[in-house]
Amino acid sequence: MVTIAAGTQRRGRRQPEEGQALILAATRRVTRQRVLLSAIHSVIGLAFLLPMLWVIDAAFSVHASPLLTRPSFTLVNFRSALSLGAGRAIGNSLYLAVVSTVIATAVSVLAAYALSRQRVPLKGTLLVGTLVLSGLPITLLLIPIYIMYVHLNWLNSPFYTSLALAASSVPFAIWLLKNFIDQVPKEFEEAAAIEGSGGMRILWRVIVPLATPGILVAAIITFINSWGAFLLPLVLDANPANTPASIGIYDNILANSQVSYGPLAAYAILFSVPVIVLYLISTRWLHGGFSFAGGVKG
């Protein structure tokens, strides 16, 4: 707008109607741009939304099919999914996710604290290496881990499977947490130290409370990774009683020659419930913000 006005001024006195017409034309151009953008956004949004709509529709409808059906309401599919072992499978998933998150978070906090505060030789290389390794696809590690577990006799155990899941999440969690802990001003630890506080007390009472948002983020990422984990539990645990829901959906429904879409969708919804709950809880916690208000000057 400014350019147009300047242009009008620079060329000397023009008719005021011409200036107004230019502004109108520009406004129309902007509006057209906005409409176009909104259209594109809507298309993309729909592309993501449609599958979810289908899942909800299929789960609750009697005539589930790969297409959207006329909406109806029934809980038959849920009962069917539960009878296929969805309940137990989701319980197994919860175990794997919770245990692996606890282990991974604890380990990562300690490592991140050390990396953040201590002088470590080749720290930069170590950190970049960690980040790069966290991008390694799990398929590369599957066979070595399996062979290790055979030797250790750790197969078919939910606990040791959680351990493997934790290990796969630790590199990224360390990277994330180290950056968070870097932001906690060192003065708090110095103040705690001069008060006579030892290292673990400082970590537990000063660092952890101040880095809580970061710890929560790392925990949530680990949880979600472990929740959706398929290959590691598949390979490391052959006991059908320990099967998590990610494999359960596959085994019980998708592996059949005739896929029953209703129970499939219902199973999927049941599978998502804990994650949605986690999301709702964590937004309330994280809402507190990332500030060190009042502790340091200002």
Partner: protein, 381 residues
């Protein structure tokens, strides 16, 4: 309560060629309030952090009560520190902040609550015990930080520019409060600041640092009256000391100092000390209050003629900036002197207060014994 000694302490940081602290020898007596003062970057905070244990000296030893402390962790040194930014734990209430140290040292609950009550009452923060630091004002936070330090019952207090984040009025009030607390708990204290007024008003002794080196460590009056070099003379005292270029002339056995057209002769002891400067230049220092308007008809003292450039009325007195040839002098006159810019004036200098400095090194030239002023008999030009 302890005696703190720094012997030949130096600190160099990796990657920085110049030492942050260089060959520092300093002693703080038991119960003494030592103020370490100097411009930004002079090494005073690094020195404090070495005493606290957050930095290790590259060279030299730090002793508390004779015991070397270089390898002792901060938590085991039994010191208390008040940080410039207070470092109050933001996620804890004031009460929890205060009790943090005692809990870390596993003191019994009853003792903890009793002590907190006493100290909080004394500092006037007992109504704030349930608040979090974010809900407190700057002065309140500072008092909580002081309270936390007091509750440590340390061998020594370390304070790192604790008043620099407060507004002027609060600073004056807290200065008094800190001195009052020190009277009540006469613990060895090392107080770091860049403010020379805080140094002069609060210190038992001042340690002035610049460029990582100790310039002078002495009582405030001594630093003011007998500065060891031009840096000390300029840093302490507001308005700044006037440093004039002068020259020394030898006349047989006696020496005369000449500056701005005024000549002063020196007694035999001073002449002897100054003999090597005969024929060369010297820096002459007079503080603003040691320069005054010459009496109307001219007095016994030689005078210099100049022009007023600036008049700064302060209410109780007035600062006058005047130009004499190429040199500018700041001096004080009584409040309603009636001087204005452009006035031609004559000033005289108080001979007993003359300070002489080596023009190259800035070091003070010792004209007589440590405690007496030189005998100067002024002669007319």
């Amino acid at each position: 309560m302890a005696k703190l000694v720094l012997e030949g302490v130096s600190k160099t940081f990796k990657g920085k060629p110049l030492a942050a602290v260089y060959d520092l020898d300093l002693e703080v007596e038991d119960g003494e309030f030592l103020v370490v003062v100097g411009p930004s970057g002079c090494g005073k905070t690094t020195t404090l952090r070495m005493i606290a244990g957050f930095e290790t000296p590259s060279q030299g030893v730090i002793r508390i009560d004779g015991k070397p402390m270089n390898s002792v962790l901060p938590k085991d040194r039994n010191l208390a520190m008040v940080f410039q930014s207070y470092a109050l734990f933001p996620h804890m209430t004031v009460a929890k902040n205060l009790s943090f140290g005692m809990k870390a040292r596993h003191e019994p609950k009853a003792t903890i609550s009793r002590e907190i009550e006493t100290i909080a009452g004394m500092l006037g923060i007992d109504s704030l015990l349930d608040r979090k630091p974010a809900e407190l004002s700057g002065g309140e936070r500072q008092r909580v930080a002081l309270g936390r330090a007091l509750l440590r019952r340390p061998q020594a207090f370390l304070l790192d520019e604790p008043l620099s984040n407060l507004d002027a009025a609060l600073r004056v009030q807290m200065r008094l409060e800190i001195k009052r607390i020190h009277k009540q708990f006469p613990v060895t204290t090392v107080y770091v600041t860049h403010d020379q007024v805080e140094a002069m008003t609060m210190a038992d002794r001042i340690a002035l640092m610049s460029g990582g080196r100790l310039q002078q460590a002495a009582a405030p009056e001594r630093i003011y009256d007998s500065p060891a070099n031009t840096f000390v003379a300029t840093f302490i005292g507001t308005p700044k000391i006037n440093l004039l270029s002068g020259s020394v002339v030898s006349d047989g056995g006696a020496c005369h100092v000449t500056f701005l057209g005024c000549t002063y002769s020196l007694d035999s002891a001073a002449s002897k000390a100054l003999h090597r400067f005969a024929g060369s230049s010297v820096t002459v220092g007079f503080r603003p209050e040691e320069v005054r308007l010459a009496p109307g008809g001219g007095g016994r003292l030689p005078t210099a003629q100049g022009t007023v450039e600036l008049v700064e009325p302060l209410g109780s007195e007035t600062n006058v900036v005047a130009r004499f040839d190429e040199q500018v002098i700041v001096f004080k006159v009584p409040a309603r002197s009636g001087l204005s810019v452009g006035d031609s004036i004559r000033v005289e200098f108080e001979p007993s207060q003359m300070k002489l400095f080596d023009p190259d090194s800035g070091a003070s030239l010792d004209l007589g014994s440590a405690h007496s002023e030189p005998q100067l008999s002024p002669i007319r030009v």
